[in-house]
Protein backbone atom coordinates (compact mmCIF):
# COMPACT_ATOMS: atom_id res chain seq x y z
CA UNK A 1 0.00 0.00 0.00
CA UNK A 2 1.64 3.21 -1.16
CA UNK A 3 -0.92 5.30 0.70
CA UNK A 4 0.74 4.32 3.98
CA UNK A 5 3.88 6.22 3.00
CA UNK A 6 2.18 9.54 2.56
CA UNK A 7 3.61 12.24 4.85
CA UNK A 8 1.32 13.14 7.74
CA UNK A 9 1.55 16.52 9.39
CA UNK A 10 -0.39 16.55 12.62
CA UNK A 11 1.44 18.90 14.96
CA UNK A 12 -1.46 20.09 17.13
CA UNK A 13 0.53 23.09 18.37
CA UNK A 14 0.74 24.40 14.80
CA UNK A 15 -3.02 24.35 14.19
CA UNK A 16 -5.23 27.35 14.77
CA UNK A 17 -8.38 26.43 16.72
CA UNK A 18 -11.26 28.84 16.09
CA UNK A 19 -13.86 29.22 18.87
CA UNK A 20 -16.30 26.96 17.02
CA UNK A 21 -13.70 24.16 16.99
CA UNK A 22 -13.02 24.52 20.72
CA UNK A 23 -16.76 24.52 21.41
CA UNK A 24 -17.16 21.42 19.26
CA UNK A 25 -14.39 19.56 21.11
CA UNK A 26 -16.17 20.58 24.30
CA UNK A 27 -19.35 18.96 22.96
CA UNK A 28 -17.52 15.64 22.59
CA UNK A 29 -15.59 15.89 25.84
CA UNK A 30 -18.73 16.77 27.81
CA UNK A 31 -20.55 13.83 26.21
CA UNK A 32 -17.84 11.37 27.23
CA UNK A 33 -17.73 12.86 30.75
CA UNK A 34 -21.49 12.41 31.16
CA UNK A 35 -21.27 8.80 29.96
CA UNK A 36 -18.85 8.15 32.82
CA UNK A 37 -21.46 9.63 35.19
CA UNK A 38 -24.24 7.21 34.06
CA UNK A 39 -23.34 4.42 36.55
CA UNK A 40 -23.26 7.01 39.37
CA UNK A 41 -26.74 8.22 38.35
CA UNK A 42 -28.06 4.64 38.34
CA UNK A 43 -26.50 4.05 41.78
CA UNK A 44 -28.01 7.25 43.24
CA UNK A 45 -31.50 6.60 41.80
CA UNK A 46 -31.49 2.98 43.03
CA UNK A 47 -30.26 3.95 46.50
CA UNK A 48 -32.73 6.84 46.83
CA UNK A 49 -35.65 4.48 46.10
CA UNK A 50 -34.38 1.59 48.25
CA UNK A 51 -35.97 2.87 51.47
CA UNK A 52 -35.92 5.76 53.98
CA UNK A 53 -32.33 4.84 54.94
CA UNK A 54 -31.20 4.88 51.33
CA UNK A 55 -32.96 8.21 50.74
CA UNK A 56 -31.15 9.69 53.76
CA UNK A 57 -27.85 8.21 52.53
CA UNK A 58 -28.32 9.92 49.13
CA UNK A 59 -28.95 13.26 50.89
CA UNK A 60 -25.67 12.81 52.80
CA UNK A 61 -23.78 11.89 49.62
CA UNK A 62 -25.18 14.89 47.72
CA UNK A 63 -24.30 17.20 50.63
CA UNK A 64 -20.57 16.42 50.52
CA UNK A 65 -18.46 19.23 49.09
CA UNK A 66 -16.45 16.94 46.81
CA UNK A 67 -19.58 15.44 45.21
CA UNK A 68 -21.07 18.92 44.85
CA UNK A 69 -17.97 20.06 42.93
CA UNK A 70 -18.12 16.98 40.67
CA UNK A 71 -21.84 17.51 40.06
CA UNK A 72 -21.22 21.16 39.22
CA UNK A 73 -18.76 20.10 36.50
CA UNK A 74 -21.29 17.53 35.22
CA UNK A 75 -24.01 20.22 35.21
CA UNK A 76 -21.72 22.52 33.22
CA UNK A 77 -20.96 19.65 30.81
CA UNK A 78 -24.70 18.96 30.45
CA UNK A 79 -25.59 22.57 29.67
CA UNK A 80 -22.67 22.91 27.24
CA UNK A 81 -23.74 19.68 25.52
CA UNK A 82 -27.40 20.80 25.41
CA UNK A 83 -26.71 24.30 24.06
CA UNK A 84 -24.08 23.10 21.56
CA UNK A 85 -26.52 20.36 20.51
CA UNK A 86 -29.30 22.89 19.88
CA UNK A 87 -26.81 24.95 17.83
CA UNK A 88 -25.85 21.88 15.77
CA UNK A 89 -29.54 21.07 15.22
CA UNK A 90 -30.23 24.60 13.97
CA UNK A 91 -27.24 24.32 11.61
CA UNK A 92 -28.67 20.98 10.38
CA UNK A 93 -31.76 22.98 9.42
CA UNK A 94 -29.55 25.55 7.64
CA UNK A 95 -29.97 28.18 10.35
CA UNK A 96 -26.88 30.12 11.39
CA UNK A 97 -24.53 28.40 8.93
CA UNK A 98 -22.83 31.69 7.93
CA UNK A 99 -19.34 32.01 9.40
CA UNK A 100 -20.02 35.18 11.37
CA UNK A 101 -23.22 33.90 12.98
CA UNK A 102 -21.68 30.48 13.64
CA UNK A 103 -18.76 32.16 15.45
CA UNK A 104 -21.16 34.30 17.49
CA UNK A 105 -23.33 31.33 18.47
CA UNK A 106 -20.25 29.30 19.42
CA UNK A 107 -19.13 32.16 21.70
CA UNK A 108 -22.64 32.34 23.16
CA UNK A 109 -22.53 28.60 23.99
CA UNK A 110 -19.11 28.93 25.64
CA UNK A 111 -20.32 31.79 27.87
CA UNK A 112 -23.92 30.75 28.55
CA UNK A 113 -23.13 27.19 29.69
CA UNK A 114 -20.99 28.11 32.75
CA UNK A 115 -23.24 31.09 33.62
CA UNK A 116 -26.37 28.90 33.57
CA UNK A 117 -24.52 26.19 35.51
CA UNK A 118 -23.73 28.67 38.31
CA UNK A 119 -27.33 29.97 38.38
CA UNK A 120 -28.91 26.49 38.44
CA UNK A 121 -26.25 25.25 40.87
CA UNK A 122 -27.21 28.02 43.28
CA UNK A 123 -30.91 27.09 43.12
CA UNK A 124 -30.36 23.33 43.51
Amino acid sequence: MTTKNRPVYLDLKQFRFPIAAIMSVGHRASGVLMILAIPFLAYILDLSLAGPDGFAAVKTILDSLFIKLVLFVVLWAMLHHLLAGIRFLLIDFHMGVEKEIATKSAQAVMVAAPVLAVLIGLIL
Binding site: V32, A42, S48, L49, P52, F55, G85, I86, L124
Partner: protein
Protein backbone atom coordinates in the same frame (compact mmCIF):
# COMPACT_ATOMS: atom_id res chain seq x y z
CA UNK B 1 -26.66 -2.83 17.29
CA UNK B 2 -23.61 -1.44 15.54
CA UNK B 3 -25.09 -2.04 12.11
CA UNK B 4 -28.45 -0.62 13.20
CA UNK B 5 -26.75 2.45 14.63
CA UNK B 6 -24.76 3.66 11.64
CA UNK B 7 -25.24 6.08 8.78
CA UNK B 8 -28.55 7.89 8.36
CA UNK B 9 -30.29 5.82 11.02
CA UNK B 10 -27.71 6.73 13.67
CA UNK B 11 -27.90 10.37 12.59
CA UNK B 12 -31.69 10.36 12.99
CA UNK B 13 -31.64 8.36 16.25
CA UNK B 14 -29.14 10.80 17.72
CA UNK B 15 -31.36 13.79 16.95
CA UNK B 16 -34.67 12.24 18.03
CA UNK B 17 -33.18 11.01 21.32
CA UNK B 18 -31.51 14.42 21.79
CA UNK B 19 -34.87 16.20 21.52
CA UNK B 20 -36.44 13.99 24.19
CA UNK B 21 -33.37 14.17 26.47
CA UNK B 22 -33.24 17.97 26.17
CA UNK B 23 -36.93 18.48 26.96
CA UNK B 24 -36.83 15.97 29.83
CA UNK B 25 -33.69 17.54 31.35
CA UNK B 26 -35.25 21.00 31.30
CA UNK B 27 -38.37 19.58 32.99
CA UNK B 28 -36.26 17.67 35.57
CA UNK B 29 -34.04 20.66 36.39
CA UNK B 30 -37.18 22.75 36.92
CA UNK B 31 -38.86 20.04 39.02
CA UNK B 32 -35.80 19.54 41.26
CA UNK B 33 -35.21 23.29 41.57
CA UNK B 34 -38.71 24.23 42.71
CA UNK B 35 -40.33 20.98 43.83
CA UNK B 36 -37.55 18.83 45.32
CA UNK B 37 -38.88 15.78 47.25
CA UNK B 38 -38.59 16.29 51.02
CA UNK B 39 -39.10 12.71 52.18
CA UNK B 40 -38.61 9.17 50.94
CA UNK B 41 -42.39 8.57 50.75
CA UNK B 42 -42.94 11.72 48.68
CA UNK B 43 -40.09 10.72 46.32
CA UNK B 44 -41.31 7.13 45.92
CA UNK B 45 -44.92 8.20 45.34
CA UNK B 46 -43.70 10.65 42.69
CA UNK B 47 -41.61 8.02 40.86
CA UNK B 48 -44.42 5.42 41.16
CA UNK B 49 -46.82 7.65 39.22
CA UNK B 50 -47.24 5.84 35.86
CA UNK B 51 -46.60 8.99 33.87
CA UNK B 52 -43.37 9.66 35.76
CA UNK B 53 -42.19 6.00 35.63
CA UNK B 54 -42.76 5.74 31.90
CA UNK B 55 -41.18 9.15 31.30
CA UNK B 56 -38.11 8.01 33.28
CA UNK B 57 -37.87 4.67 31.47
CA UNK B 58 -38.11 6.45 28.11
CA UNK B 59 -35.38 8.82 29.32
CA UNK B 60 -33.13 5.86 30.14
CA UNK B 61 -33.73 4.28 26.70
CA UNK B 62 -33.09 7.61 24.92
CA UNK B 63 -30.01 8.27 27.09
CA UNK B 64 -28.45 4.88 26.34
CA UNK B 65 -29.17 5.10 22.59
CA UNK B 66 -27.72 8.62 22.53
CA UNK B 67 -24.67 7.57 24.58
CA UNK B 68 -24.08 4.52 22.37
CA UNK B 69 -24.18 6.45 19.07
CA UNK B 70 -21.96 9.14 20.59
CA UNK B 71 -19.29 6.89 22.13
CA UNK B 72 -19.28 4.76 18.96
CA UNK B 73 -18.46 7.85 16.86
CA UNK B 74 -15.74 8.91 19.30
CA UNK B 75 -14.12 5.45 19.46
CA UNK B 76 -14.23 5.00 15.67
CA UNK B 77 -12.57 8.42 15.26
CA UNK B 78 -9.79 8.02 17.83
CA UNK B 79 -9.15 4.30 18.46
CA UNK B 80 -7.72 2.71 15.31
CA UNK B 81 -6.25 -0.68 16.37
CA UNK B 82 -9.20 -2.97 15.68
CA UNK B 83 -8.84 -5.16 18.78
CA UNK B 84 -8.70 -2.18 21.13
CA UNK B 85 -11.70 -0.62 19.38
CA UNK B 86 -13.81 -3.78 19.55
CA UNK B 87 -12.86 -4.34 23.20
CA UNK B 88 -13.80 -0.80 24.21
CA UNK B 89 -17.05 -0.87 22.19
CA UNK B 90 -17.96 -4.18 23.87
CA UNK B 91 -17.18 -2.83 27.35
CA UNK B 92 -19.35 0.25 26.78
CA UNK B 93 -22.17 -1.85 25.28
CA UNK B 94 -22.17 -4.22 28.26
CA UNK B 95 -21.93 -1.30 30.67
CA UNK B 96 -24.87 0.48 29.02
CA UNK B 97 -27.08 -2.61 29.08
CA UNK B 98 -26.12 -3.21 32.72
CA UNK B 99 -26.91 0.40 33.69
CA UNK B 100 -30.21 0.21 31.77
CA UNK B 101 -31.26 -2.85 33.78
CA UNK B 102 -30.14 -1.14 36.99
CA UNK B 103 -32.30 1.95 36.23
CA UNK B 104 -35.24 -0.27 35.24
CA UNK B 105 -34.98 -2.29 38.46
CA UNK B 106 -35.01 0.86 40.60
CA UNK B 107 -37.96 2.41 38.75
CA UNK B 108 -40.01 -0.83 38.69
CA UNK B 109 -39.46 -1.56 42.39
CA UNK B 110 -40.59 1.96 43.32
CA UNK B 111 -43.86 1.29 41.48
CA UNK B 112 -44.36 -2.16 43.03
CA UNK B 113 -43.66 -1.01 46.58
CA UNK B 114 -45.87 2.06 46.49
Amino acid sequence: MSRQASGLRAWALQRISAAYLGLYLIYMLGHLSFNAPESFEAWRTYVADPGVSIGMLLFVVALLIHAWVGIRDVLIDYVHPIMARVTLLSLFAIGFVGCGLWFAKAIFLASVAA
